[in-house]
Symmetry: D2
Subunit: 105 residues, 4 copies
Amino acid sequence: MGEDKKEEVCCCCEKHKERSDKEYRDLMNRLKRIEGQVRGIQGMLEKDAYCIDILVQVSAINAALNSFNKKLLANHIGTCVAENIREGHDEVIQELVDVLPKLMK
Amino acid sequence: MGEDKKEEVCCCCEKHKERSDKEYRDLMNRLKRIEGQVRGIQGMLEKDAYCIDILVQVSAINAALNSFNKKLLANHIGTCVAENIREGHDEVIQELVDVLPKLMK
Amino acid sequence: MGEDKKEEVCCCCEKHKERSDKEYRDLMNRLKRIEGQVRGIQGMLEKDAYCIDILVQVSAINAALNSFNKKLLANHIGTCVAENIREGHDEVIQELVDVLPKLMK
Amino acid sequence: MGEDKKEEVCCCCEKHKERSDKEYRDLMNRLKRIEGQVRGIQGMLEKDAYCIDILVQVSAINAALNSFNKKLLANHIGTCVAENIREGHDEVIQELVDVLPKLMK
């Protein structure tokens, strides 16, 4: 996210998405924490940690990733999807419909 | 996993688990790849990547983590659980029963 | 879905949703099949079926229900959500954002 | 589950499983309730219920089925799996390892 950030808080055109500073930092912090969790499990493996303890930690990472995805998706619908529909770019609907099954149970 | 690894390929006593070299390397390689994927998403975020593209990549990490967990769990059942039941340490059953809901849908 | 169905194929106002005959029949058929699957498992239980066989059948029902939900959600987004956004009823966005976590992993 | 139920509370041989009366009734009651929930959704569809309301109810059925599966699996591990391992029938391990991925996220 460069310094030359344009005024608009959301631009979804040309398959790019400028995020507000607040959203960017929140998402990046989540990813840094998740990276730390993955390295934590590497450390557990090096110390011959018990399988059950590793399984529980991996589940925690999955939960953190799902929480990240829910946050991102909610923002996407509230900004990109809504704006594009208002402007008549209805292809955003099919795009959303196509990605949801990947995220659902 | 040091050089002073003992003879036994599986010891699940005292909440530790010695893994075979092959299993250790497989699991560690998976974690290194997953760490790389998480960093890849940080890079996408820095480049203002489109929400949908990020959502798809995060789903791929979730799938990789679940695959890691399935591998680890299968090995745990085939070694620790089976051995402990044979030796009369039935508390391993309750432990497995308690962790499964965390891993199930 | 009575005979007095109005002209419009989609009306999402007042928390109702008129579905096209085709969509209605598709969804209802899926539910009838799912009901049959649930009764099938009752029959398995009565015949002392093996746990593993029951677990597999229950997983099949879960998959059928998820498939039903994906279908319904895709239709909801393509009709109700899109129409309401176009007409300025943006509360449909928050409603969608609130329900998605219940459907996601 | 006939009247001629044998003494043993668990017999997992020949791919059958005799369940205690208590377990049988608990599992059957859950299935009856789930069948009622599926019919309830058919009723919602007939009354042109709103998509979001249907999605939430289907999620509730999924949760009930998962809860049923967790119960059944816990009992299977505590009885069939443990007994078979003690008696040297280790094929029960592979069987469990094969079914778990179907039940996991």
